[in-house]
């Protein structure tokens, strides 16, 4: 799938579903089969990075890089780097399920004014 086809909802869905990091890989600038898909991905990427940081998700958990089909070494390096980054950050705090409120969870009894 062309990187320009990555709907930002896919990325958020990945984080929502439990991903600790998301790596988008596209063709090198100038090599996109659809000409400009990777540039579109690049513009979305920077907006998305800023957006997720406002949700308390570290920017480094989302990465974009260019790797062509003939760059096995770079592919391996990019994946390994991403794994290192995510390991260093640790697991992402999970978002509670949509279907329950905090009612009766016990930590609501005292309002802490600190």
């Amino acid at each position: 799938m062309c990187s320009g086809r990555i709907d930002p909802q896919f990325i958020l869905k990945a984080f929502q579903s439990g991903a600790d990091g998301v790596l988008i890989l596209g063709c090198h600038p100038g090599d996109c089969h659809y000409k400009e898909g990777n540039y579109k991905a690049l513009r979305r990427f920077y907006l998305l990075r800023k957006l997720i940081s406002q949700f308390g998700i570290e920017e480094e958990r989302l990465k974009l890089d260019w790797v062509s089909a003939s760059e096995a070494d770079k592919f391996v390096r990019t994946i390994n780097d991403m794994v290192e980054t995510v390991k260093a950050l640790g697991p992402l705090k999970r978002i509670p399920a949509h279907t329950s409120t905090e009612k009766g969870t016990g930590d609501l009894q005292e309002i802490k004014i600190g």
């Binding site: 930002p8 909802q9 929502q16 690049l42 800023k50 308390g56 992402l92």
Partner: protein
């Protein structure tokens, strides 16, 4: 058979949605004649006890506005669910979380610290803070429990229909009421407004950029707004491409960009992500440094893209506040 029973209730709400009913003017009299109102805290003196006494599903329809952020709001919503045939989430706050939902960027402690200690207009030297329970001569007074997270109504109870808008416009309210009274409602879960983007009916759509067109993003107070040209083409963020039609372009006609109060169309889950995507496709540069510069010039993207829909978004709230 008597007239259908109807309840109105408000949760975390500003009162504007109640006002929207009153704004139906003489049309509201027709509605009131046709139904038997059993609960309407803003206007009439009924008690929750009265509702508890009703049979299950005895109320034909309950209109609930406001988001859910306290245990009391959750309890009453659940009670109304049990006692009602239909639940209608009324207005942006019940539908999507709305403006109160922006509190999901912080948490309860931060809100209390700000409201009772740190806001510049607050003087609270004696440290007077709200308590869940306060003893007085007459007995114990209690306050509802305040949640860390703001919820949409459908995250708390099953919702049958949605009337969108902050506040919903009179024509949509009347149409919805007519459909309910005449039993011509669409499929359960429907948002009772047209299922297309606002841009499709906007008068300014002729000038809406189809491809890369803007090099700079500006805020409304920084420019003289052209009253004819598409806001996006002026570099002003307008949520029209990611927002459902049906308000009559209220903001656009007042020469203000759309902030998305109608929520997304049925094909979109996350309104903010959808708008981000639309915006990225009209930024006119492929140069990385310039893309970063433009991105950084948007002061609060999450706050604008989810102005009304943060609790309904995929990520719902800020983690690690």
């Amino acid at each position: 058979m008597g007239k259908p029973k109807v309840a109105f209730y408000w949760c975390a709400s500003c009162g504007g949605c109640e006002e929207a009913f009153v704004d139906l003017a003489e049309d509201i009299l027709k509605v009131i004649e046709a139904v038997d109102i059993v609960l309407w805290p803003v206007a009439l003196d009924f008690k929750i006890k009265d509702i508890e006494k009703l049979h299950d599903a005895e109320i034909a329809v309950s209109f609930i506005n406001g988001a859910v952020r306290t245990d009391e709001q959750e309890d009453i919503s659940k009670l109304l669910r049990k006692k009602s045939g239909l639940i209608v989430a009324f207005g942006s706050c019940a539908h999507l979380g709305g403006i109160p939902g922006l509190a999901n960027f912080v948490n309860r402690d931060k809100i209390f610290d700000w409201v009772y200690k740190n806001a510049p207009s607050v003087v609270n030297n004696n440290g007077v803070f709200p308590q869940k329970k306060t003893g007085v001569i007459e007995g114990d007074l209690t306050l509802p429990e305040f949640y860390d997270t703001v919820y949409t109504l459908d995250q708390v109870i099953d919702v049958d229909y949605y009337i969108p808008g902050c506040a919903p416009p009179p024509d949509l309210i009347l149409k919805a009421i007519e459909a309910i009274l005449s039993g011509t409602l669409p499929e359960k879960g429907t948002v009772l407004a047209p299922d297309r983007a606002l841009c499709e009916t906007c008068k300014r759509r002729e000038t809406k950029p189809e491809k890369a067109a803007i090099k700079e993003i500006k805020r409304v107070h920084q420019v003289m707004l052209d009253p004819e040209r598409c806001f996006l083409d002026q570099g002003i963020i307008c949520l029209g491409p990611a927002t459902r039609d049906g308000c009559g372009e209220r903001c656009i006609n007042a020469n203000m960009p759309c902030r998305g109060c109608f929520g997304p169309t049925s094909r979109v889950v996350d309104q903010g992500a959808k708008f981000l995507s639309a915006l990225a496709s009209i930024i006119d540069t492929n140069d990385e440094a310039e893309i970063r510069k433009i991105t950084n010039s948007i002061v609060d993207p999450a706050g604008i893209f989810y102005y009304y829909s943060l609790p309904a978004s995929m990520l719902r709230r800020k983690l690690n506040v």
